[in-house]
């Protein structure tokens, strides 16, 4: 169970998160949507304890991680797995070593068993017999899936996915969607997923939350979000160029309109 209250994070003068509240009940998948650069990845890094928030609290199973020292954080982080937006594979290790990293560090199983687990997790993300390849030899989508296999390898209770389907073809994206759903259904994983891909959001979410201007402006079930009355959320989920989000930025609007009119003239 994850409860975030009044979370604020600034970088210098730039306010990224500004009093954000979000609660994810045990065993649910919360999908967070929001424009590029609104602080979705920053939110995940705060939950993981990689970034220290300036204000607010983040409770993981009741314990506030913002007040913990490094040692306590290490213990809490064992509950987590995280898929990074840029995969963040260790480029000095091959795929098998990447996926088995945490298992080998923690000496969870004997080496034989670790190899089996690694192979199993890789096949769950649709990759086989690539254990000996180096990350530099993989495509972007393959890296993402290896990153996912690495995140789930030690079977954490909580999973944080930063854009799991970005850069994948539609079929592979759906395989990953199914995987996320089945991890929740079979293992009762609690998760936060960030995505721009609305098809994926509707499919995997128990609830969807929209991040805008440093706060969660709306939370609801996929159906509620689809038929929302909130103009900001509506513009985002329908993917329209015009609306309250883009009206914020005068210059951008003029650019879009200019192009639309130029297009008509030609």
């Amino acid at each position: 169970m994850i409860e975030i209250r009044g979370l604020a994070k600034r970088f210098g003068k730039k306010v990224v998160l500004d009093g954000l509240d979000l609660a994810v009940p045990r065993g649910e998948n919360m999908v967070v949507i929001g424009g590029s650069g609104t602080g979705k990845s920053v939110l995940l890094k705060c939950v993981m304890g990689l970034l220290r928030p300036d204000e607010g609290e983040i409770r993981i199973d009741g314990e506030d991680i913002t007040r913990m020292d490094e040692e306590e954080l290490v213990r809490v982080r064992r509950k987590f797995g995280m898929l990074f937006q840029g995969s963040a594979l260790f480029d000095s290790m091959d795929v098998g070593e990447n996926v088995g990293f945490a298992l080998r560090r923690l000496r969870k199983f004997p080496e034989e068993r670790i190899r089996e687990v690694v192979e199993e997790k890789l096949s769950m993300v649709g990759l086989r017999e690539i254990q000996r390849l180096m990350p530099a030899e993989l495509s972007g989508g393959m890296k993402k899936r290896v990153g996912l296999a690495r995140a789930i390898a030690s079977e954490p209770d909580i999973l944080l996915y930063d854009e799991p389907t970005t850069g994948l073809d539609p079929i592979m994206a759906d395989v990953i969607n199914d995987l996320i759903v089945s991890l929740r259904e079979r293992l009762g994983v609690t998760s936060i997923t960030i995505t721009h891909d609305m098809a994926s959001a509707y499919k995997i979410a128990d609830r969807i939350a929209m991040l805008y201007k440093g706060r969660i402006v709306e939370t609801g079930s996929p159906d509620e979000i689809r038929s929302t009355a909130n103009p900001v959320v509506a513009q985002f989920v329908q993917g329209r160029a015009r609306g309250p989000i883009t009206d914020e930025s005068e210059e951008f609007v003029r650019f879009v309109r200019g192009r639309a009119e130029g297009g008509k003239g030609a």
């Binding site: 982080r77 990074f84 840029g86």
Partner: protein, 264 residues
């Protein structure tokens, strides 16, 4: 109240103040890193595999540069002192001068500078790249302390390997001096060797090795720290690398002075 633009003097003082502040802050950060390294080194798992790998990287791969610089340092030292001492007929002391200079100062310092360039740069670049591509964050999410996993093996390896490099450097440096003095300048080989042994004490050698160990820890700590604070893509990694080399070379020379003044 309106703010006045600062005068030139004020600005200069502020600039210096900022520099000094930055240096003090960095010193603090590197000391904190040292504490974390010590704490991490005594905790399980002991990272033997990584330590061996780093020893190879720091030690074995640095042997050629260190040997070449040490040989030529010994050679030029013999050349200079021979022609200088000729003026007052003291050429018999060339062996002593070469041996003492190499073991006490030039062996450790030049090895330190070479390792700053070679190893400092590669540590900062490697960790810096890992930092900007979020690999260090990924380590944290995989139940691994990056300081323990990445910094501890590098610091241990550098601290123990640098003295070994200096033993080699001392040896070839003295040999280079002998070669030039005897075969180029025509010194008497028996006198040269005798004078080398006569005044060289064990203390001269081991103080040099202690210095080398300190240089090794300084270089690796500073370079790992620079890697960890790198930000902003390839350019940021480049900046971190430069700063690692410049700072660690400077610290080799500065700490050398203080250690010398304490030891002798």
């Amino acid at each position: 109240m309106t703010e006045r633009p600062p005068g030139r003097v004020t600005a200069a003082v502020e600039g210096i103040g900022e520099r000094v502040y930055g240096m003090v802050q960095e010193l603090g950060a590197v000391s904190t890193l040292l504490f974390r390294v010590v704490a991490g080194a005594v905790r399980r798992p002991f990272e033997f595999g990584n330590i061996i790998k780093q020893m190879e990287e720091v030690g074995v791969r640095s042997i050629p540069v260190v040997l070449v610089t040490a040989t030529f340092t010994g050679m030029v030292l013999a050349l200079q002192s021979f022609s200088g001492f000729e003026r007052f007929g003291a050429t018999s002391l060339v062996g002593t001068v070469v041996a003492l200079s190499i073991t006490r100062e030039l062996g450790p310092v030049f090895a330190g500078l070479m390792v700053s360039g070679r190893v400092g740069a590669s540590m900062a670049a490697e960790l810096g790249t890992m930092k900007v591509t979020e690999q260090i964050d990924a380590l944290v999410t995989l139940a691994t302390d990056p300081v323990k996993y990445l910094v501890v093996p590098r610091v241990i390896a550098a601290t123990f390997v640098l003295p070994v490099l200096v033993v080699f450097a001392d040896f070839v440096g003295i040999l280079g001096g002998y070669f030039v003095a005897v075969h180029v300048m025509g010194a008497n080989p028996h006198v040269y060797v005798a004078k080398t042994y006569q005044y060289l004490e064990f203390r001269d050698i081991y103080t040099g090795l202690v210095k080398a160990a300190v240089f090794g820890s300084l270089i690796s700590l500073i370079s790992c720290h620079q890697g960890f604070v790198a930000r902003g893509g390839a350019e940021g990694v480049g900046r971190a690398t430069t700063r690692a080399v410049v700072t660690s070379s400077m610290m080799v020379l500065v700490s050398d002075y203080f250690m010398t003044s304490l030891m002798f």
